[in-house]
Symmetry: C2
Subunit: 204 residues, 2 copies
Amino acid sequence: MIKIIINRVAEDLKMEKTFIVETSARHVHVNQETLEALFGVGYQLTVKKPLSQPGQYASGEKVEVIGPKKSLTCSILGPCRKDNQVELSFTDARTIGITAPVKESGDIANTPGCILKGPAGEVELKNGVIIAKRHIHMTPEDAITFGVKDKEIVSVKVTGTGRDVIYGDTVVRVNKSYALAMHVDTDESNAGAFGGEVLGTIVK
Amino acid sequence: MIKIIINRVAEDLKMEKTFIVETSARHVHVNQETLEALFGVGYQLTVKKPLSQPGQYASGEKVEVIGPKKSLTCSILGPCRKDNQVELSFTDARTIGITAPVKESGDIANTPGCILKGPAGEVELKNGVIIAKRHIHMTPEDAITFGVKDKEIVSVKVTGTGRDVIYGDTVVRVNKSYALAMHVDTDESNAGAFGGEVLGTIVK
């Protein structure tokens, strides 16, 4: 019954060409090898909270992300991936003394590294620190509804927060495994005073 | 000669209906009484760097801004004012554990307080912590050029940064003592990937 209601809300949003805008706080993706170096041989991530993207979750595990200037605690998101990746806001990166580029998730060529520290050890990443490019996850069906295609760059409007914004340079990412949601970092969320349920619309 | 060139650049920008967007990092304004409680009897602020607004400057003095959770170091801007005021970004406020509202500078009614700590003592502020509302300083002549009036709410577009933005809810502040410049906080600056000379235009 709850599932039917949730689906109906999601469908209503799509009818209005609107989607939820979620804030991604700084976080880390690791591969199994790195996880074991940080937490011990054979270690498995624990699921703390499912995220909007199917199969993805906030784990119970945290690591220290150490830069030249300072360190910050970051949650690990699961499940493990092929590559390690640290997603910070510009504020976070400046705090720990790293100059990182705005990149799409997975695009870690020519990015700076950092040190990760867990209870069982440290791992030096040669690269993988990015400022995530803002993006909208959607299914191929959603892409038809919104009249956009994979990799298209769009602008997204959020109003009614007291700090209205239109965010350009937002990339559309289409995959049948995705759920409809836009992701911004904490700087972007704060610049728009996002709180509670935030809805975005694509403007052309 | 340099002054003539600078004035010419400023005039050229106005001709193109464009203005510089400056980032205000977190900072504190104090009155003379607070300054003396923090730094000692008879203390005077030292001028470190003039700011774009005539007569305003970054002082050489820093204080700890202490919240329930943590503290952050902030520069004091001079000269001393009538009221104490602490201007943070949402990121800063969350870091030290304070929930502050978005307000225009000077509008400190119904705002939270904090503790300021200097080398000579601490001062407990009952209120004065704000997230500054983004704003454009301009003279009455500038207001005619841009076709806006004091207190008008406008949207400002910044492009070419890789994180294009249009910031709504931007208040125009007109005073003959002002110099033409838009001010945003570090969250807003980072959300737009502002760096180097950033130019904004008003969009209606």
